[in-house]
């Protein structure tokens, strides 16, 4: 049993079009630095978890592939799938394994090699992440389409505009340009977004996160093992929520109930005041698979009141120096969104920010020593909110 669990090592591949490596080679780019920075060897790993949605890539038995390629056999492992939240779901498995005493050191790998399939195939496959029969089979919903219905409803209810949504993309590209691991390292302006072609109205190309290859890894350790490690952060709490398969089974399209629930659980478990939780945090990574969902995430995570998320982006309150810096690694939008790797990449970012190891121009001020990550799978089907801290609880 270990009351507290720490992240003692991290690794992150370059995100983007990674047709220069195959899947295990890409994974190794994250595993090697994670082992190095944690100062552990493969034999020290008790258990490992792989977050990977797959389908678009050829290899399915990724844990076994890594047992072979990275010398992890015969240790126990599993592959975890929770759509775009597969990464944080994998962290959840490692976290609970250590908490329950089932392991002392766990390697968590998030990986996706989406570009092994052509774009149209990927559009087809991700569209099926909703309710297959009632949404995809008959009405051809695409992933941008599901979230666009949220975007439309939010515009109708709170008077947000397509220009407001564009501001999220501008911010995330601004920070992505400063992140050497990001897929897009180019700043953009509002016009770039507004003049890009429609994908699913009201979303245009630059409202959407890209199709990405990438890997990220963290080493989790028990309190006993972590006590002598210098560079580490602690998992203070996790909240997990599940939403209905069909959007039509939800009350409102301006919030993800799974995310509101997960955030509330995470704050309560971490002993953080629900009225103004942002005052206890130094920053956050939220699941900006599209621009509007970032604004909805501000509200679901209680960084502001309902309907005021759009004000936060208008007033640049989620830039460094504002109320709460959000996605200052470029977010899914500019850093890229390799489905299974995203949640682990968010944990890597929490580690770098809290230990003040982020690259020049994108380091937040660390005063409270806490960072939040919000990782959503499907169309709000699964949400994992994790709060990390410099000090254990």
């Amino acid at each position: 049993m270990s009351e507290n669990v720490a992240i003692i090592g991290i690794g992150h591949s370059k995100f983007g079009t990674r047709k220069d490596v195959n899947l295990p080679e890409l994974a190794w780019e994250a595993i090697k630095p994670a082992l190095d920075s944690a100062n552990v060897e493969q034999k020290d790993i008790d258990f490992y978890v792989v977050g990977n949605a797959g389908m678009w890539s050829s290899e399915a038995a990724v844990p076994s592939l890594m047992a072979e390629y990275a010398d992890l056999a015969p240790k126990g492992s599993m592959r975890v799938e929770a759509a775009c939240a597969s990464g944080n779901a994998a962290i959840r498995v490692g976290y609970t394994a250590i908490k329950s005493g089932g392991a002392d050191i766990v390697l968590v790998l998030g990986i996706e090699k989406m570009q092994e399939s052509p774009n149209p195939t990927i559009i087809e496959l991700i569209g099926r992440f909703g309710s297959y029969f009632w949404e995809f089979e008959n009405f051809g919903l695409t992933f941008p389409g599901y979230y666009a219905m949220y975007g439309t409803a939010y515009m109708a209810k709170y008077g947000a505009t397509e220009e407001d949504y564009a501001k999220v993309a501008v911010k995330n590209h601004y920070y992505g340009a400063k992140n050497p691991y990001a897929q897009f390292r180019k700043e953009i302006d509002i016009d770039t977004v507004l003049k890009s072609p429609y994908i699913a109205w009201p979303f245009k190309l630059f409202d959407c996160s890209p199709i990405t290859d990438g890997a990220a890894a963290v080493i989790l350790a028990s309190e006993e093992f972590a006590k002598d490690v210098e560079d580490k952060i602690w998992i203070l709490s996790q909240g997990v929520g599940t939403g209905t398969a069909n959007l039509s089974r939800r009350d409102d399209f301006t919030t993800l109930p799974s995310a509101s629930y997960a955030a509330e659980q995470a704050y309560k478990k971490a002993g953080i005041d629900l009225d103004a939780p942002w005052k206890y945090l130094d920053g956050a990574n939220v699941h900006d698979c599209f621009t509007a969902p970032e604004i909805i995430a501000y509200e679901d995570c209680r960084f502001c009141k309902r309907g005021e998320g759009v004000e936060l982006i208008r007033e640049e309150q989620t830039y460094i120096g504002g109320r709460i810096p959000v996605n200052i690694d470029g977010g899914l939008k500019a850093k890229g969104h390799p489905i299974g790797a995203t949640g682990v990449s968010q944990a890597v970012e929490a580690y770098k920010q809290l230990l003040s190891q982020a690259e020049k121009g994108r380091q937040a001020d660390i005063k409270n020593g806490r960072w939040l990550t919000h990782n959503v799978g499907g169309t709000g089907h699964f949400t994992y909110v994790t709060i990390y801290g410099l000090e254990k609880r």
Partner: protein, 166 residues
């Protein structure tokens, strides 16, 4: 993909392998020779009346006999009372438009369609429904009245759609 196929056939002949050079990175790629085709067979036996209803132009769904809970999409079991005694009731085919999107970039399996509008409406009976919305999406507004119509689609099968009420 046709170009890719031609390229790998040529490369197989010349170099002996189904390979190609990635245009952007200049790196060598093996092009999979095994193509997977998927078509699911999904059981609708227990919601058959829903499809029979559509044949008569009706939208019918399940309602729990015990607690009165109304379900759409229809389902066989009521989780509220853990009972499976359902009755089939007809829904009023009118309601209010709650949200919409226009799908411009379409999945390959919908390539035969022009950009289409997908909307969610709340029917007057209280349940919500996701469907295509007929007509010009620029002429509709969230909050306006819509009705449900059942018609035959391009592929040849019957399906419900939303239609704006003038």
């Amino acid at each position: 993909m046709d170009e890719l196929r031609k390229a790998i056939e040529k490369n197989m002949e010349e170099f002996g392998f189904p390979v190609t050079i990635d245009e952007r990175l200049g790196t060598l790629q093996w092009v999979d020779m095994r193509e997977l085709r998927l078509r699911y067979v999904i059981c609708i036996e227990n919601i058959m009346p829903f499809f029979e209803g559509m044949r008569e132009g009706k939208l019918i769904t399940t309602k729990c006999k015990k607690c009165g809970r109304l379900f759409f999409p229809p389902q066989k079991d009521c989780p509220s009372c853990r009972d499976s005694e359902m009755e089939w009731v007809e829904l009023k085919k009118e309601g209010v438009l709650e949200t919409l999107t226009v799908i411009f970039v379409r999945p390959p399996s919908f390539a035969d369609y022009d950009p289409y509008t997908v909307a969610i409406a709340k029917l007057d009976d209280g349940v919500k429904i996701t469907a295509w919305l007929k007509g010009d999406p620029q002429k509709v507004k969230v909050g306006q009245r819509v009705k449900v119509e059942i018609s035959r689609r391009k592929e040849g099968y019957l399906m419900y759609e939303l239609v704006p009420v003038e």
